[in-house]
Amino acid sequence: MQKSLLYIGLFVLLIGCKGEQKFTMEANEVLTSKGVVIPVYNFANLEPLLRMKDGKTRIVNFWATWCKPCVAELPYFELINSRYPDDQVEVILVSLDLPSQVESKLIPFVKRQRIESKILLLDDPDADNWIRKVDKEWTGSIPATIIYKDNSSNFYERSFTYNELEKELKKML
């Protein structure tokens, strides 16, 4: 199996905001294989992405390839991502796959499904610590989704249909 793991220590994800502000997130490591690049974050490094205040609406979906209801609803997130302009809505898919399965499961899945939304891996084993910081109501089951813009934020521990997801998104736009 072809394998190329890059450990560059610092992977900078640039999130441009109307060309003005630039925001950097430090990845703990970056995994690449078959042309797919997956930055890996611990929660401390991921957290700023859940708290951006730049007028853009963000949909952050926690999922994993082993989670059937997550995989079932991914096309709806992809559709939202393609239908709404990038400067208004950003879809971020936070994978909770085990790091040992990134190459065997996650990357082939991303490639096969031709996923275009931003994907990153959250690798932070001390889940009791960070689950509460995502939302105090979250029990830790996935799929779970945050839709937020500036200071308003809604959290959902549930699955969506396309219409349901779009309805919730429109509340935030």
Binding site: A64, K68, L96, L98, P125, A127, D128, T139, G140, S141
Partner: protein
Amino acid sequence: MKTLKILVVIALVIAVSAFAIDRVSDQAVSDTGYAVGDIATDFSLKNVDDTMVSLSDYKDTKGFVVIFTCNHCPYSVAYEDRIIALNASLAPKGYPVIAINPNNPKAYPEDSFEHMKIRAKDKGFTFPYLFDEGQKIYPQYGATKTPHVYVLEKTTEGLVVRYIGAIDNNYKDAKKADKKYVENAVSELLSGKKVSVETTKAIGCSIKA
């Protein structure tokens, strides 16, 4: 006059149906399962050796470590060896592990009773691995994912829930787990103390009924 009567009837119907909706949502709220301090239900579920197992079968235990787990979930698999180790260390102290697979095999064929038997044999499970047939027990406990642990203490009042949550704080690497929630809870119970960490959260695979 007639129209007024109809209006009254309609108003009554609306009032009654509104009340019915309230009742339903009340029930839904109380249906979220156990909190620490609640009395847990016993059950009679089929074990991988084809016998039926109830908590009341255990006469000499001080409590139980009830773990909702399954075959298909990578997080459950990551904890399998640790569940075996927990039973080895805690069963002699009076807190045996009781594993329950809450998933509907129609949603996850890998979690069928036949596959449970195979997994239990392959891994050499030393504890009951029970099938929640009809998915009736896990909602009473309020388990939402696998693995999801309930530490129960046997008291004169019944089986009191003393801890709900994860096994430890590192699903990836047992050696790096420096908070062993279940072990700590049981050892505190054994020394007559209050459990210091009563609930924890963890990522797991959603249970599918």
